[in-house]
Symmetry: C2
Subunit: 408 residues, 2 copies
Amino acid sequence: MTYDKLFADALKPLHDEQRYRVFIEIERIAGRCPLATWQSPTGPRTVVLWCSNDYLGMSRHSDVIRAMTETAARTGIGAGGTRNIAGTNSPLVTLERELADLHGKASALVFTSGYVSNQTGISTIARLIPDCLILSDELNHNSMIEGVRQSGVEKKVWRHNDTAALERLLAAEPCRPKLILFESLYSMDGDVAPINRICDLAGRYGAMTYCDEVHAVGMYGARGAGVAARDGAMHRIDVIEGTLAKAFGCLGGYITGSRNLIDAVRSHAAGFIFTTALPPPLCAAATAAIRHLKTSDEERRLQQRHAARLKQVLVAAGLPILPTSTHIVPLMVGDPRLCKQASDLLLSDYGIYIQPINYPTVAKGTERLRITPTPYHDDALIGQLRDALVDVWQRLRLPLANSLVAAE
Amino acid sequence: MTYDKLFADALKPLHDEQRYRVFIEIERIAGRCPLATWQSPTGPRTVVLWCSNDYLGMSRHSDVIRAMTETAARTGIGAGGTRNIAGTNSPLVTLERELADLHGKASALVFTSGYVSNQTGISTIARLIPDCLILSDELNHNSMIEGVRQSGVEKKVWRHNDTAALERLLAAEPCRPKLILFESLYSMDGDVAPINRICDLAGRYGAMTYCDEVHAVGMYGARGAGVAARDGAMHRIDVIEGTLAKAFGCLGGYITGSRNLIDAVRSHAAGFIFTTALPPPLCAAATAAIRHLKTSDEERRLQQRHAARLKQVLVAAGLPILPTSTHIVPLMVGDPRLCKQASDLLLSDYGIYIQPINYPTVAKGTERLRITPTPYHDDALIGQLRDALVDVWQRLRLPLANSLVAAE
């Protein structure tokens, strides 16, 4: 069959470049966070999960599971329709009110995923602005890039987090409507955008701002509204986009903004209109997680404590971590084959699961292990991880922090 | 704020053309299917739901809810990562095996929605075929159209279900790789594609076939695999796409096909790679629904019985339904304002919820009430619906079937 050969051929470059992906099958153990059962080649094994984006362990919080279970018993699982045709369920309406309140905006709109919220949100907003120019941070997520591409609108890319570069682009088009796209917290390097400076520039040059907070909601700010809230800039941003699938432990994504903007996206976005609404039990679970994190600071405090402790321990061991001010701890390898080997050894010989991050998720030459401590990764687990990493670094003769610095 | 005015302006044409959408907020009552609680302007009211795509009521089946609840307790809710980074959970792997078996294919791939499975599935497949020409049925769903658009590949549209028109397009490009896109069952008219004839032509002219079965899976064929299975054509189709959000009562979408094709999409589709995996409890629930419908024929039998009965009763009352051989019963109105008024009257005065279907979901002038009987819509409910419709048709002076025929 000739078509099948085309698909087989499409896999060859991935094998050749050592970036063919083999998915690791696990099942997390809700009562023993952060443990999971790995379906290893020789059968099920218990491992420690160190790379999940269920950042605060909310996916297994008793309030969250109870909300899902009770709602499923009361109303069933699937929404059974698009938002317009029988799918607008009360738990979803409640969730949108909760999200609007979280970010201090008039309205919120829920999508089936964070990816879709960026893709269809950005493409719809940009198309509704005549002669729009998009200014996009160079490290923005694939979902934002796809949103820009789908809009068909002209885009200029500014150097990552470089507000001088952004200002040059803004100043070059003083009269044109402009939409600035950026993330508050970049997930692979763990660094943070200069949000207030971006808002200053947006005000000066008459641009709209769209900020992706998916790796920050739940984890920063007094009520878990994100980095913009922590930095006192939330009210200055026109559109805040977030996810229910990371710190809130569920599934789905959203945008928040003014009543007219949300109504216009609701009314014009094909990727919103023509798809089944989020199931009521998931909406209720997400609402429970958001409400808990609006008042409880304990998860955020423990996560930050463990992240700080982990960085301190790995630096002391000479391991080459990228310095960050956030909960994300990137451990640099710089080679796809070695990165995969280090991950494989950690899993097979030490029962530690950290997925290797290779191209295209990060640039070639910056391959890494991306470590995400949660409130449940205590000092004993941190010590165990350090010992395993030091062993693996020696076995694979990977460079330590000092030698990396010397090589630069 | 000038940007906000643009978004307000984008809503005006919708109001002017009487197609501004007001979402009806409901909560279905799991133990009293097909009843739901409507948040009416004067407070909560119990209504009968006649327009849900939870076609078989599986969203509230005890096996399905139990699978969700037990899995949530065991492993938590959210998957906590993309498929590549900690998100490949055992219930999801099991679900993909179940779907491959359902459609008799080597492999299956689950997406966050049916919309995304078409959008990213079609765009990825088409881009992996050099010099591909897409031949698309003119009534294909928006998600398929978006997939074609994103692929950037040349497309030709053939007249709906017209295999002579399809053959002319195929014959015009004998040497070029071709991808035929169609649905097995079109949701708004309730008609069915000539699947075997399309497969004959694909074989004769060397084209690949991609069939969307979202309005058929669970409901047709001995094991609920869809219309292609019922017509003995399932093995002839290269890619079968389906949903978990309609007859299977949950959320998510999928494609099934050869091992190489699925592996290539898995490895290249941005809309698959960069998004959080489906939650384990939803995967387990979907698997339970699929397994139930593989062996139980009762739901399909009752749905078909009620659909046949409803059509008979509405025809006898002179109401202008579009004749169909499927479970979908379109009641034609032909005017957006009257269609909305009929729906509003049914809801406010008779406690019956049927969403008006207006442009852009259907062509202007073909506005309709789309009625979807389930196994739970018994003869008493059917009689009640007929009486309400006859009243509303008289009150609004809507045309009856005979007068429609006479007018043509």
